[in-house]
Symmetry: C2
Subunit: 464 residues, 2 copies
Amino acid sequence: MKTSNKKTKILITGAGLCGSLLGLRLAQKGFHVDILEKRPDMRKAVVDGGRSINLALSDRGLSGLKLVGLEEKVRDLCIPMNGRLIHDVEGNTFASNYSGREGEYINSISREELNKLLLDEAEKYENVHIDFDDAVTAVDLKNASVTYHDAITDTKKEWKADILLGTDGAGSVVRKEMMKQRDFLFSHSMNWLPHGYKELSIPPTEDGKWRIEKNFLHIWPRGGFMLIALPNLDGSFTLTLFMQYDGDGPAFNNIKSDQEIKDFFNAYFKDVVKHIPDLVEQYHTNPAPPLGTVRCSPWTSYGKSSLIGDSAHAIVPFYGQGMNASFEDVVVFDEMLNQNETWADAFTAFSTKRKPDADAIANLALDNFVEMRDSVANPNFQLKRQIEMRLESAFTKAKYQSKYSLVTFPEEGVSYEHAMLKGRAQDKAILWLLENKMITVDDELDSLLNKIKEKTEDVLWLRE
Amino acid sequence: MKTSNKKTKILITGAGLCGSLLGLRLAQKGFHVDILEKRPDMRKAVVDGGRSINLALSDRGLSGLKLVGLEEKVRDLCIPMNGRLIHDVEGNTFASNYSGREGEYINSISREELNKLLLDEAEKYENVHIDFDDAVTAVDLKNASVTYHDAITDTKKEWKADILLGTDGAGSVVRKEMMKQRDFLFSHSMNWLPHGYKELSIPPTEDGKWRIEKNFLHIWPRGGFMLIALPNLDGSFTLTLFMQYDGDGPAFNNIKSDQEIKDFFNAYFKDVVKHIPDLVEQYHTNPAPPLGTVRCSPWTSYGKSSLIGDSAHAIVPFYGQGMNASFEDVVVFDEMLNQNETWADAFTAFSTKRKPDADAIANLALDNFVEMRDSVANPNFQLKRQIEMRLESAFTKAKYQSKYSLVTFPEEGVSYEHAMLKGRAQDKAILWLLENKMITVDDELDSLLNKIKEKTEDVLWLRE
């Protein structure tokens, strides 16, 4: 199948964030695109029980929105978060900016509002057709055709395309079909954390304002567990409690009665309790689903299909990069389509180029859970952060970026894999230099930078 | 279920190397053990097409055989291999010993002969019953019961036990049942190499002798692919060709015709060709199965079952540790049974203790493929090896062991995980010291040892 043939029939399974952005981009390139989505149209029905779920949108995600010309429109949905606001057990707060540079922040955005915008924009193109209430039940990878259940008519239907793009998320039916086949060696893994997550909500004030500081990602780090909060445009905050299911210390399976819930929140999050009158009810009502990491390879089969986004690489949320990674996938996939004559080659190039980056952000996200929930960290971690803020304030991005900044505010072409390798080595280098008293926070900046760069090279060599 | 209750009905699925050793050990402890094995009894029928497959038995495996009192009997089946004998393209050979110490060698042993011995020894116990030709098809983990197909009577049967031990190998039915359940979060992965393996055979001489040097593991390293050979007691050698299926350079899918096979072997392995008159026929006849790594966690479910051996952690063969790891599992499992009052606690303790070691040897085995097949390695690797041989010759094990030695000839209590962390750090430390000209091969031994120990500590800190 030639990538230049605009008559190619493309089927996308899943009209979530990744599928709708991908559909929009392919429509802009002149392809005919059909999208099957198992859920009802979220613009007409309340889909997720009405809870307001938000995500952190940053530069990699914005590059995908820029590609389709939506960066400015999306900015209207965003609330900038300049850093973390850490809440200790006594209710004291400490701000920690994401970057030492001006204008580098992440954005809180409603998953639903962003998805609706992408659906609206995609449907402006005549060559895009989205069918809701259609759940794919089986996939024929060799023929790029699917069987699906139409919930409206309660009938089983089939769809034959030329090209099949699976943007059907962490539980991908397309990926499961790849696991079953025997023609090629499909590697895959599913790894669960012992922690689940429960979403809660702080309501807005009566005049629609925010009850806690608006422009931060709030964290209540408590060692084995933590609470975070991201602001919504309506003045509310979405809280997420990350906690183990079982074991010593607080755990979902030990905190079940009204009294246990009250005691737990009063003990660990007392500055939040007062903002949530229906806390106990919310706790009972909202589920506590698990957190998993999906890895697989290759992402493509028979030259006719590819996984894109969470279906290929679902990750835990602790780096705020799940959606960003999926949108960056669309940017990379678009490049691969431009650079390759056939879809088969574009798929292989995409899978080969992008897989190391998907693995890197999966690992970084797992690491970051420990960093986020640790309240009593090594004092050298604090000094490291101060040094990095000084360096970022004084030097250009090309001269210095922290790991967080390499991941979140990358210069063009800086991959997740590079960010991971360089960022981890830098972290180790600075901690080693502090530990061995070879630098201090107040050292002259050029000297600091040189020592860190030199040690980082050494660490990269020793860690590879 | 109390571990002290000897009336506990134990069902083991799989009478391979791990299942038969485990059954024997549990019988020695006084338990009633039933074993279901899907294949025919290898003592009565030819099971694997008559090919002689051998394995490398070393200290960790021997510890399992010692536990059941079979170490001496097994020695009679062994051919010691003192090191690698490297064959270059011109047919020149270079010996590289496994250790700088006397008496540290690995053993070539026939999988089939060892398995037969273990079956015979197990069946000497009245409280062991082994049923062959019985393939487990479904497992009820909650009730420790299985459904199986009896090939002799072609009927479906059920077996209810108190405790279920899955020693059913890389394709474990018990593990697949754990993947299906929804009561607990079962993490799992299946990772394939792009390489497969094909076994070939060098026949003995007419008077039953070995055609190439007997007491070595032979390697023909060729970069992207390699051939190895292990000796058998009858004078033959089992060769294994490891090669990618597809891609640039030699690949199974590019070497198919008689002429292609001859050309390939004449180009890369000409010193072997003369020993195998029916090479082309063997190449056509023998399959080229893939090489995979299985990881999962936890290994136990509902306090009634556990995976043990390959079913929990199948690894690639490049460290010669697959069987050794499974036998060491039996030693650790035996300890856990002694230390815990209930089977549930013993299972949890076993899974928790042993999982990091299983992951470590899986990773080491993957690394070693690269080391084994690289013919033109960094010259510093050769210098490193010389330094390590000097250190091992001069000092006790407690003072210095190479990574290979930590894995293969460990002191008591040295786990695979420790061997991996320490061994990798040592390798990096020596290479770094050589690269930075801070040591030479001929340095005074105490000075060498101290520099390496100091740098190793530093690398451990930087790599963690």
